[in-house]
Symmetry: C2
Amino acid sequence: MPDLHGGIDLGGTKIQAAIVDAKGEVKGEARHPTPTEGGPPQIVEAMAAALTEAAKQAGVETAALGGVGVGSPGDANEKTGVVSSARNLPGWEGSFAVAETLEQALGTKVRVGNDVQVATEAEFHLGAGREFETLIGVFWGTGVGGGLVLAGKPWLGRGAAGEIGHMVVHRGDARCTCGRRGCMEAYAGRMAMEREAHHRHQHGHGTDLFKLMEKHGKPRLTSGIWERAIDHGDKLAAHLLDRAVEALGTGIASAVNLIDPEAIILGGGMGIRFGERFMEPLTHEMGKHLFADDRPPAVRVAALGDLGGAVGASLLVTNR
Amino acid sequence: MPDLHGGIDLGGTKIQAAIVDAKGEVKGEARHPTPTEGGPPQIVEAMAAALTEAAKQAGVETAALGGVGVGSPGDANEKTGVVSSARNLPGWEGSFAVAETLEQALGTKVRVGNDVQVATEAEFHLGAGREFETLIGVFWGTGVGGGLVLAGKPWLGRGAAGEIGHMVVHRGDARCTCGRRGCMEAYAGRMAMEREAHHRHQHGHGTDLFKLMEKHGKPRLTSGIWERAIDHGDKLAAHLLDRAVEALGTGIASAVNLIDPEAIILGGGMGIRFGERFMEPLTHEMGKHLFADDRPPAVRVAALGDLGGAVGASLLVTNR
């Protein structure tokens, strides 16, 4: 069934696999935890297992698929199929030939691409970006990733385009998780927000964030914990979310001033949870810095949810 | 002679016209001051006169040209040939049908485009950007303008792309000439630098900048005055230039993180005068904020000099 393709979204905690038909409909899916030991070989084995399970659900052999795409963090080289420096994956500081290894396991061709870029393309083809020709995907989660579709085509630059989270919004100010200063992600990334909450809590700011985290048995401040906290009137949580939205609006405006796209698609765990709730302050902050402020771009929340990454990855087989 | 084209660079103080052959060689040129009275009709009349003079020098009737391109400030609509809100031109707050009016005066077709975008395209085709497929032009002058060439093609977005000078580098900080806060141009634009120098001078900072300006009979702090001042060891001038270079490096890095181009072409009056002298601190400041810092883009000073704008404008006739 060459009109069925596989897609794998490789994340720091989970591997999401999907079997997708030519219309973008999901015919089978499976989710496995990302192995924390064994490094790249073990992780790729788990990817093969998840994809095989999803194929079984769709009633197809993996070797009969038209191909499989992988959306990966780190430096995913589309030409070689090698993934390097995927530092949020356990033991993946070096390089590993993902496409080659998976091809042997699955018996079909495999393409790799950047996880955020393929999720942006999924929204462009099948989700919240369908009506636009040029858009920027902003994936607000643990960090802040970005993807570009310009005049209907993915824009990769020299392979590392779309790093909107590391556009500078406040030169010399907050330290980012990447080690640099003043990046948008240093204010808006969930990991940076948690670090800042922890720091302020230790310095005497009252907050229920960490109590809520323990109460709900979470190892970190998930988007759900942030939401509960602001629903309970937690002032520090509300302040840090406002600060994140200011940075997002500022960085997005900079990107719009440079590229002048028709639309911004806001995805990611934080983006999907808070996108509608913070749409007004986000567009307000963006508007403050738009040079052509009489016609701001449309801002839409991503529509494909959790499966967007895997569906987008499946498009790598047909779109490249 | 349809292989000869005209180009006009419309500036706030001068109108530069050129006749260019198919290889990009300049066969005739003329420079007229921009009329300060009479508004758009008078300015367009002066454009026609300059172009006619350049054509005479090249030994060609304007009606025999393959067409004429105009690089304009403000909102230059490529589709309609109308230029709006060109606020640095005297009396040009509204809209004026530049292409239509000039076509009647010159007897050949006329195309209008953004001045900085066409200068970027000139560098791409004929100047410092010839060896690259994807580049960002950064024109550091009175303000800071930008132009984009992506995979060999001009990128205009919805018509307002390339506003790199209004990317935010320091949210909420210095007031920009555009009225917003924290834009790159608020630190690096020559006009903003002059305003800041004036402000600090009035508040007791010693500087010879304004003495040098008077001595050389200049109405403002030109790039030449800034150069003389730092050559004389003027501390305020040196500090404000360092501050400008920091902002440029930061904003350029943000643009690179988003687009991942092969090269940055640095032009404009300040860029051409100071590009080589400040290349090391500029690339150092940029490097601090590059996400893919192991392979920075090439940074080159524009090669076409003062005529780049007019030559680039002439390309509008053939490249659109």
